[in-house]
């Protein structure tokens, strides 16, 4: 093969591969387009701070520090997790974590509020630019974390990390084949990760900066 043909084939291959690569990368991005308002005292860049209330501690104990697992070599971070019996009034502005009555298929839920305390209205609230604060609620019925009729703490920890991922404004990935904690449901050994994957960290890095 002469040099010209080789160069042509190389360029052709690159031409064909590049769009595929960028397509695959786009599929692995699942951060939302919204942001916290500039007046918000807490956001992922300043450091997310949570207050775990009585209901959550009483039901699940001090597992909520798994929120720190999101921290990495990038700007977005969790900087504090205060817990009951510390007084909530000593931590005004901290994002509340509590337990609530939910449908039995729901493990956890994140809520976003505006400056006026209204729930954020948008097709996807995480695409909104009106976010002032967030709140995480975990199902108060411990049995929803049962796997084979036994309470599974890995599942609970996965859900807490998952909901904190929403506070970082990460969506559920559309690509069901990538490994992520942001997939919904019981963790498995393949795509639904119980820990924060490199894909998840990459999304925080791109969303909130290096």
């Amino acid at each position: 093969m002469n040099g010209k043909k080789y160069c042509f084939l190389l360029l052709l291959t690159l031409f064909l591969l590049l769009p595929m690569k960028s397509y695959a990368s786009a599929e692995n991005l699942y951060y939302a387009s919204g942001n916290y308002v500039t007046q918000a005292p807490i956001n992922p860049i300043k450091g997310l701070t949570f207050y775990v209330d009585n209901s959550a501690i009483t039901t699940y104990g001090s597992v909520f520090t798994v929120a720190f697992d999101w921290n990495g070599d990038y700007k977005g971070k969790v900087s504090a997790v205060a817990q009951y019996p510390a007084s909530s009034s000593d931590f005004p502005g901290y994002f509340n974590i509590n337990t609530r009555a939910f449908s039995l298929d729901v493990k956890g839920q994140t809520f976003f509020y505006t400056r006026w305390g209204d729930l954020v209205t948008a097709t996807n609230p995480m695409d909104s630019y009106s976010i002032y604060k967030a709140k995480i609620s975990i199902n108060s019925n411990r049995s929803v974390f049962n796997i084979e009729n036994k309470f599974n703490s890995t599942y609970l920890a996965k859900t807490i990390r998952h909901e904190v991922g929403h506070v970082f404004l990460l969506n559920h990935p559309i690509n069901q084949y990538i490994m992520s904690i942001m997939h919904q449901g019981e963790p498995n050994n393949s795509t639904i990760s119980s820990t924060i994957s490199s894909n998840d960290k990459n999304n925080v890095l791109i969303k909130w900066g290096n």
């Binding site: 509590n98 009555a101 298929d105 809520f111 976003f112 509020y113 996807n124 609230p125 609620s137 996965k158």
Partner: protein
């Protein structure tokens, strides 16, 4: 002597009373507990047609079923039923010390359904059950009402028949749908049936909010239609 004893008893009584202060809820809240309560509305909550919808379903971690068998296996009750009476709603709130107000989060509306057909479970036609439907109506700070839904499923309509896959909740004394958009299906119209047959059915054709792609909706709906709506 008797007078002295009576005087002493009166003084003691006054002293005991004065040492008991009425408990202000906000004072109690500062005593290391966060105020967290459930506000119950017993009246029927009608949903205005033009109400603003707050869809909160995209920020949850919930079970996703991949086929009808999984939905059926999880259900303790599979029935057709008609919503007859709105029994009010229960909304959980937390007092926010920064904004100085109660912020709503979880909540549900209770509906009484009348069973019209039983596929699975120990119930009979004409029996009534309570569905805990995960939506509620809440006023915004400007007073305008919002429909807060934690599910992709649109609220059930009174007197309309639905196929339902249910689980009983002992704590909250009612039935939940087993899954987000996989627990309740309206009886399809001829138009919907034709679309199922032609395999042209799309998410907006079904009574769900079209806010995020619901991966298993169409496959499961097609299975449901073939098994329960033929």
């Amino acid at each position: 002597m008797k007078r002295l004893i009576l005087l002493f008893l009166n003084l003691s009584f006054i002293l005991i009373l004065s040492s008991c202060k009425a408990t202000d809820p906000k004072v109690a809240e500062n005593d290391n507990t966060i105020p967290s309560d459930t506000q119950t509305t017993d009246v029927i909550v009608d949903i205005p047609a033009d109400i603003e919808v707050v869809y909160n379903g995209g920020m949850s971690d919930r079970v996703i079923y991949e086929d009808l068998k999984q939905v059926e296996d999880k259900s303790s009750l599979i029935i057709k039923a008609v919503p007859k009476k709105n029994l009010g709603q229960e909304v959980s709130t937390t007092y926010d010390y920064e904004l100085n107000k109660d912020l709503p989060d979880a909540g549900y509306t209770k509906w009484e359904f009348e069973i019209t057909k039983v596929y699975k479970g120990d119930v009979d036609v004409k029996d009534k059950l309570v569905l805990l439907h995960d939506y509620y109506v809440w006023p915004r700070s400007d007073g305008k009402k919002q429909l807060i839904t934690l599910s992709s499923l649109k609220p059930a309509l009174k007197d309309k028949e639905y196929l339902m896959f249910l689980q009983y909740d002992d704590i909250n004394k009612g039935y939940w749908l087993v899954g987000d958009y996989m627990g309740m299906f309206a009886i399809p119209t001829d138009e919907i049936k034709a679309k199922i047959k032609a395999k042209t059915l799309k998410q907006p054709d079904i009574e769900v909010y079209d806010y995020e792609p619901l991966q298993y909706l169409i496959p499961i709906y097609s299975e449901v239609a073939a098994k329960y709506f033929n």
